[in-house]
């Protein structure tokens, strides 16, 4: 079946445009439902994300809050920004610089009991490689330290 159109070029251009615009629309629609938003504890307490939605929670690991579960791999701790406190549970191998009083970004979902279940923790890697959100939390940290 040959294309009898006078301008095959226009037909091809049309097909390419339709596919690309379709891809663009699909992308925008999918992004709206699949992008994971970044929360600080105050946001999450005031306006919790719906269950089953992947989000990121960033803040300071509260001093004295880190507790190892008896199974040896689960850790419970509290993430705070000085305004609100969110309990977090994580099972896995912790990043090297994940310590109390330091910043952390947890990726996961908020459970129905109000505990944030993290499936990945991003901690400061070293002085040079700091997760992006964490840089913005320097002020939060200072605020917390000033209240002590």
């Amino acid at each position: 079946m040959a294309v009898r159109a006078k301008h095959q070029r226009l037909v091809l251009l049309g097909i390419a445009l339709v596919a690309l615009i379709g891809a663009g629309l699909l992308a925008t629609w999918a992004l709206r439902s699949q992008a994971s938003y970044f929360y600080v504890p105050a946001d999450m307490a005031a306006n919790p994300p719906e269950a089953d939605r992947a989000v990121r929670l960033g803040g300071m690991v509260e001093r004295g809050s880190m507790k190892n579960a008896p199974d040896g791999i689960t850790v419970n701790f509290i993430v705070t920004d000085g305004k609100a406190r969110i309990p977090v549970r994580f099972a896995g191998i912790r990043p090297a610089l994940f310590v109390e009083g330091s910043g952390v970004v947890a990726e996961g979902k908020l459970g129905p009991d109000g505990t944030f279940v993290a499936d990945n923790l991003l901690a400061k890697h070293d002085e040079k490689y700091v997760p992006r959100e964490m840089k913005d939390m320097q002020q939060a940290r200072k605020a917390i330290e000033n209240t002590k």
């Binding site: 091809l12 596919a19 891809a23 992308a27 938003y37 040896g72």
Partner: protein, 664 residues
């Protein structure tokens, strides 16, 4: 003294790039034809000078000359020699110097060997290459001088990020850069062809080996980068849709599309404007990738430049080159005449489908990668990950793979589907068998199921174009296509296996304890301290048995580097023909009774190595195709030289006759 010589060489190279642009441009005008003679030599000298500057920087790193700021900030005298050399490009300035060196040498290479194009197009191409180089020279000299001195001279250097202290680093950036910058040559060819309005089969044939070369390096670079992330990061994943990974994937997608559309243009003189457009897009994606990775917009092990001025500089370069090229395209595209027609069921039709699907995947990857930057400008922080990229890209990839089952068997110009449909029975049977096997293994998710069924079918189908030919006498380029397409099927099977069959265990094990993961039983025999040249570590000794078979030893470590002070896990792998056991050692934790336990993360990943084996097959296929093109070109050159020689002889004889005749 040496750093100043290096800087001087860079300035000289930049000046030569300026001359190359000027002379190349002038040679296109009526009065400047005489300038054409110097363009090729200038391009060659420029490449050599840039390479000499890079050589000096490497020497400074090897010597650990701490009076050079870059060395002091990124190296350390106690580092092993290989990482001193590799550390040269493990930082912003050094990697940009590598970029201009590769670009200069690429231009020099084109100038030295490329003879197929009409001379004006060649001059425009070399001028275009110089124009792009100049921007990057300016970036180096004004915003990221690699040879800057430091005073006072420090006691010792800061060291290199331990994640980068891996043999993979020695090859990963140069390989990717050869790919990125190789696409700059396709870009310059496209610009040259647009300027002189010479878009045709000759242009496609001249450009194709360069695109093929760049594409091979990109394929190898992405495959190696994926394996590096898999075993160094210790997360057990092979692709994270991280922005830096997308930055290398996008040029690859564009180059893959360009490769296929260039073959249509070369063979059938169709898809003219589209091919030129892809030439512009492919290098644009390389630059967008560099911008994303190097500007500090993203935080990763790749984001060296925290200086916002540098981000602005790259953004300006991006605007000039991409904007300028698109403007030129808009002005000239209308004058590129329409190519040959073809039917929908034809090789061209299948390749157009491949191009549209690849461009769509490129589009959604670009949108997903840039989206967080846009929302952040609006004040909302989001991250976009696999839940977006994987299903959305699969919507375009799966139809593309289905067309790949039969596309290579279609004839050019016009074909009948009924001619090839009997041949499709074989891949169809394979797909059904593989899908049934996956269902029986308990795979229920749609995408892994599709991948497991399509992968083997693709491998079988890719060999069908060889039917009816003598296997030994089939052209090398056909073999290249067959192997590359089979590699896609192999990699697809590995990817689907990873999501379908991977089993994971996370345990806190006492020394002597045995744990089970999939068919493996793994005993933690001991945990002992050990020391390396610039690190100390806790090393776990694991004794693993597959299904009661022979014992294998794995030694995962948790390493602490002391320059800079940092800890990271080094995984240990055991590869079998049917998969890979992947182990990571974590922290020591105490149980309620105070007993010491070690966290262990154990994965059994059936068939996963096929992902990288597939990737290498794709690159090998590209290599064979390139070899065949180069061999053909050499043969033609030799034949032409012989022909010229004979014609000269004949002319001499004939002239001799005429002279004698005149005398008589």
């Amino acid at each position: 003294m040496l750093p100043e010589i290096g800087l001087g060489l860079l300035w000289l190279a930049a000046a030569l790039a300026g001359l190359q642009l000027l002379a190349g441009g002038l040679s296109l005008t009526a009065n400047g034809k005489g300038m054409a003679g110097i363009v090729r030599p200038v391009a060659m000298v420029q490449g050599v000078l840039a390479a000499a500057a890079l050589g000096i920087l490497i020497w400074l790193f090897v010597e650990t000359d701490l009076s050079v700021k870059l060395v002091a900030e990124n190296s350390h005298s106690a580092k092993p020699l290989m990482f001193k050399i590799a550390g040269t490009w493990g930082n912003h300035e050094g990697s940009m110097l590598l970029w201009v060196t590769v670009m200069g040498l690429g231009g020099a290479f084109v100038a030295a060997v490329e003879r197929r194009l009409p001379e004006p197009t060649m001059m425009a191409t070399l001028a275009g290459q110089a124009f792009v180089s100049l921007g990057f020279y300016a970036f180096l000299l004004f915003a990221s001088n690699p040879f800057a001195r430091l005073y006072p001279v420090p006691e010792d250097g800061n060291g290199l990020n331990p994640l980068l202290q891996d043999p993979g680093l020695a090859f990963h950036p140069p390989t990717l850069y050869l790919g990125y910058v190789g696409l700059s040559i396709a870009f310059s060819f496209a610009i040259g062809a647009l300027i002189t309005r010479q878009v045709g089969p000759d242009f496609a044939r001249a450009m194709r080996p360069w695109v093929l070369g760049a594409w091979i390096f990109l394929t190898v670079g992405i495959t190696a980068g994926s394996y590096w992330a898999y075993y160094v990061l210790g997360w057990g994943g092979w692709w994270f849709w991280d922005p830096v990974e997308n930055a290398s994937l996008m040029p690859w997608l564009a180059a893959t599309a360009l490769l296929h559309s260039a073959s249509v243009l070369a063979a059938r003189n169709a898809l003219r404007a589209w091919t030129v457009m892809l030439g512009v897009v492919a290098f644009s994606m390389s630059m967008v990738g560099t911008f994303l990775v190097r500007s500090g917009i993203l935080t990763s092990v790749h984001a060296f430049a925290v200086d916002p001025r540098r981000g602005g500089f790259i953004l300006a370069l991006l605007a000039i080159y991409i904007g300028g090229a698109l403007l030129l395209f808009a002005l000239r595209a209308a004058t590129v005449t329409e190519g040959e027609r073809f039917a929908i069921t034809s090789r061209e039709g299948a390749l157009v489908f491949n191009n549209v699907m690849l461009s769509s995947i490129l589009g959604i990857t670009l949108i997903g990668t840039l989206y967080p930057l846009f929302t952040e400008a609006m004040g909302t922080k989001v991250s976009v990950g696999p839940p977006y990229f994987t299903p959305v890209s699969a919507m375009f990839a799966v139809p593309m793979f289905v067309v790949l089952l039969f596309g290579p068997m279609l004839r050019w110009r016009r074909d009948k589907f009924s001619r090839i449909s009997p041949l499709l029975a074989l891949p169809l049977v394979v797909a059904i068998a593989a899908g049934g096997w996956a269902l029986a293994m308990g795979v229920r998710h749609v995408l892994p199921l599709l991948g497991l069924a399509l992968g083997p079918a693709l491998v079988v189908a890719s060999f069908l174009p060889l039917r009816g030919r003598s296997v030994l006498r089939a052209p090398l380029s056909l073999w290249g296509m067959v192997i590359a397409h089979a590699g896609i099927g192999v990699a697809l099977f590995g990817m689907a296996s990873d999501s379908a069959f991977t089993v994971e265990r996370l345990v806190a094990a006492k020394v002597g304890e045995v744990n089970q993961v999939g068919p493996w039983s793994i005993k933690l025999a001991e945990v002992a301290p050990i020391a390396g040249p610039n690190w100390t570590a806790m090393e776990g000794v694991l004794k693993a048995r597959y299904d009661g078979g022979a014992e294998a030893t794995l030694r995962p470590q948790s390493r602490t580097f002391w320059a800079p002070l940092q800890t990271n896990a080094v995984s240990a792998l055991k590869t079998r023909w049917n998969g890979q056991l992947y182990t990571v050692l974590g922290d020591e934790t105490l149980s309620d009774k105070g007993e010491s336990r070690w966290q262990l993360r154990l994965w059994w990943k059936p068939y996963v190595p096929l992902i990288w084996i597939g990737g290498l097959l794709v690159a090998l296929g590209g290599g064979l195709a390139l070899l065949s093109r180069v061999a053909q070109d050499l043969k033609r050159r030799i034949a032409r030289r012989k022909g010229d020689h004979r014609r000269d002889e004949v002319t001499a004889l004939v002239q001799g006759d005429t002279v004698r005749g005149d005398a008589a």
